[in-house]
Each structure stands twice: as C-alpha cells, then as structure tokens.
C-alpha cells in the first residue's frame, strides 16, 4: 500500500514518515499542501492519506471534501493529524467524512492503531481501498 503524507511543515512530514517507518510502512510519498496532495493522489496511485488540517492553498478539510466528491477516489481512507483539538473542529472533520482524527502530539503506536482501525473497518465492509484497483 502506498501512503501519502500531506503537511506544510517539512519537520512534521519527516516526523510522520519516521513514525510510519517505525510501524513498518515504507512506501510513502509526501506533499506540502492539499492541492499538491490531490495531484499526487491521482498521479502516484495513493492508497491511504495522512493529512494536516491547516495548510496553504488547500487545507486538509477542503482536500477531504474534494476526495469524497470525486467518484474515482471517494473511498480513499483519510486520517487527519492536527493540533486542532476542539469539539467543533472534530465535528467539522467528521462532517467532511474524515476516517479518523489524531491530535498532536502522537506516537507511532497511536498512528498504527488508527490506521489498523480504518483498514479493519474498510475490510469488514468490503470497501475497495486501492484506487488503482478501482480504476
């Protein structure tokens, strides 16, 4: 599976990639904002998105809405990793159909737990995760 890490902070991208490596995930591509992320989703056959919320050009919420609105990629799992910890923020993410939500700071174990949950639910529902398989 190919993972896409989207964050405008290069430090956070490195941290997320290191956390993924720790839990055995090495096929990772990265993007600096939602717009670049959306382009990479189409170009790099991404299977799972891990995105920040606050980003220039297109934020994580807008990215999620764009993904859910595109039939070709609407089932793509998205986890949001952000410092926004308020109830109203989380409800907004929920309404944008984000699959799971992580509040910074996080540990590789938390990330693994969330990824496993999203993948497990998708498997139970028989949802086609890989966009490469859908197209």
């Amino acid at each position: 599976m190919r993972y896409l890490v989207i964050d405008d902070s290069p430090t956070m991208r490195k941290i997320l990639i290191a956390a993924l490596r720790t839990i055995g995930i090495t096929d990772v591509v990265e993007a600096g904002d939602g717009e670049e992320g959306l382009a990479k989703i189409h170009a790099e056959h991404v299977d799972f998105v891990i995105t920040d919320w606050n980003m220039p050009k297109m934020n994580g919420l807008e990215l999620a809405k764009a993904v859910r609105g595109d039939d070709a990629i609407k089932n793509l799992p998205i986890i949001m990793v952000t410092t926004r910890d308020q109830r109203q923020d989380i409800m907004q993410a929920f309404e944008a159909q984000i699959n799971n939500y992580i509040i910074k700071p996080f540990t590789p174990e938390i990330l693994k737990d969330k990824i496993d949950t999203v993948l497990m639910v998708a498997k139970e529902l028989g949802s086609e995760l890989r966009i490469s398989e859908e197209t």
Partner: protein
Amino acid sequence: MKEINFELMSQKAEELGAIFVLGQRLVPFLEDIFSFVKEVKPLLDDINLSMEDNMDKTQIAARKLSKVTEATEMATTEIIDIINELVNKSSSISTNLDRMNELDSMKFDTALNILEKVYEAIAEKQDVSSYEAPLSDAIDKLKSIKRDTRKKLFDSTRELLDGINADANSIIMSLQVQDITTQQIAAVNHLLDTIHDRLAHMLMKFQPGEAPPSTKKDESKDSTTVSKLHRPIAFNSEEEGDAYFSREEIDALFLKISKNV
C-alpha cells in the same frame, strides 16, 4: 427693634450682584465643560472596554507562552533523558565489542596452540594419541565460547542496538513540539497584533492624523503561512470543558463515519 444698617445692606447687594455677574460669566464655561465631558464619555467608555479586552488578550497570550515554555521544557528534558540512555547503550556496546574481541583472541590463541602442538608431533613423528585428551578439552572450550558467552554478547548487543533505534525514533517523535509551539507562538503574535491595532485606533481618536505604523507583516508576501493559518486556534483554544472531546469519543465518532464511507 433692631436698627437697619443701610450701608451694610448696600454692600451686601453689591456683593450679590458681583456673584450674579460671575455666575453669568461661569455658565458658558461650565456648559463647555459639560459638553466636553459628554463628548469624552463614550471615548472613555471605549477605552475602558478596550483596556478590559486587551487585558484579557494579554492574559491569553501569557498563558499560551507559558504553554510553549512548558512544552519545550518537557520535550527538551525528554530528549536529554533519551540521549543519556543512548550514551549508556553505546557505552555498553563498546564494552561488548571489547569482550568479543577478547574472546576472539582467546579462540585464536587456543586454536593456534592446538595446531602447533599437532604439527610438532607430526613433524617429529611422535605418537599423537597422548594429545587426544588435551585436544578434546580445547575443542570443548572453543565450543563453549562460541555457544554461550559469544551468543550472550551478540544478543545483548542486538538488544542494545534495537533500543538505540527505538530511542532515536522517540527523539523524532518528541520533536513534534516544534510544530505545536510554532502554532502557539503564531497565535500569540496574532493576539499582539490585534492589541496593537486597537491601541493605535484609540490613539487616533485622541490625536487625529496618521495612525502609527502597524507591526503586522504583509502575510501575502510571507512564505511562512502559519500565523495566518492558525488564527482560529488563538481565539478558541482557551475554552474549557465541553469544548473538547476525549480520545475515546473521537474514536467512537470516526468509527461511525468509517462505516458510512
């Protein structure tokens, strides 16, 4: 009957007249004062409100900076502790390597000793059967070195290296503090900018003319977008209680959406 002092009465009447004259002169002045107070009152009320608001904002800014200090302090301590562990582990690895080197030398010396003895015996056409017992001991010794001590040292070293790997990852995770503090400081910057703008606005009311230059940067030219992007955090993050979800609540909430996508 008391005698009337007309002279005194006349004097008092003059004094009374003077008071009325003074009153006539004072009234316009008092009117000016009343009118000034009337005009200034809303401004003073505005100043009062702004002061209260700015005081709240400076308190929020101070709390945010305290959080930054606390977070950096915690992360730094954590990183120092991990580095201390790394130093201890690398020191143990160094000791293990020295010990392995010693064992290798011992193995080499023992093997060489045996070979030399066997070679001498063969060269001198001696009966080598007498070497059977010492050879057997030497072989056992070599085997025990290989099987026990050396294996223990290898296992311990591997464990230490795994630990170093985990510690290095912990350091990387601790560095999330950089992102978190950047956002808090951006929020404080925005609060300070807001206070500056309000004070400048108030000064304008007292001194009509050009407003003092803003300290705010032109964000459209700013490559760092954090201060612009994280504004909502600055004004909302101080709410308490119901404003937050627990981790379990988040999991339960997103489990629903995962099942619906």
